[in-house]
Subunit: 177 residues, 2 copies
Amino acid sequence: MNIEQFVAQCEGTWRSMRSSHSLAFQQFEEVLSEIRIQKVNSEDPEVIQLLKSTTSHNSMPVSPFKMEWQAESDWEPNVKSEVTSGSCLLIPIPKTHEKGVILRSRGYAEAEKAVSNYEFLSDGTFLLITKYGQSIAEERIWFVSKHIRCRSSVLRTSEGSGVLQTSFASEVRRLKN
Amino acid sequence: MNIEQFVAQCEGTWRSMRSSHSLAFQQFEEVLSEIRIQKVNSEDPEVIQLLKSTTSHNSMPVSPFKMEWQAESDWEPNVKSEVTSGSCLLIPIPKTHEKGVILRSRGYAEAEKAVSNYEFLSDGTFLLITKYGQSIAEERIWFVSKHIRCRSSVLRTSEGSGVLQTSFASEVRRLKN
């Protein structure tokens, strides 16, 4: 598996069921959302802008893509759902076949720009590690079939090994748009 | 990572937060439970019994262990929780350093005896695949720190690639008993 194949596999619209676990408070959170992943042209002004604004990277970007999400949170099943949405531009820059960095216009744990390190495990699982000011996020994405993927994340404090939150999403591709 | 080190790392009492996703119905389930994992002597009558009752395996068993769980389901937050519990004997039989089989006195997806195949991925993630009559379960266990582990499962139909259910557990070691 390389990053180009991985992005191609991720392209499309996904119906996501996501559970978060707050370990300190033993609280569960459940979110249903729709995620849309689309490749973006390397010449796109947003891509050029993000590449310029980040510390120089020698290698060439591969398969930049945009992720958009629209979440329907159901913390309170009987209360009207709160809808949140957002989008993020991601630019992979491979170092080797299995490893590299990804520039993000917006982070996962903190809403600021971020640089992540990625690698593929022996079974093709995609591993993404992002260091923020106060925290480190480790995300894993693996496909259980062509149209179903799993995504887990662990958020920990950057000092020490305190784990703040974990999450897991089961995502099914929307075959009709 | 080998199976002996892995079982040693798992030994103890764990406080588990587990979320299940039923993909067809888009239903979430949340379970809080306590899991206790203890090594069992290879000469234990239960171990000998399970080894005898299963098709012959040439290699020697390593680190047999018992898993006990007590779950407090909270499907309905305002209704008195239902407590379920159970236990299972597991006997690993390595084939190589990273791969082997595990005999189980009770399966995960179906409550009958089962034989699972296990292997370790390049980052030490433990991967366990169990074929039942009607379904195949894939479980992954990885440690995010010495005292925190994550566990995911995907249950699919044995015919075709239909995914029935996924689950994810965040487990924190109980340091005091």
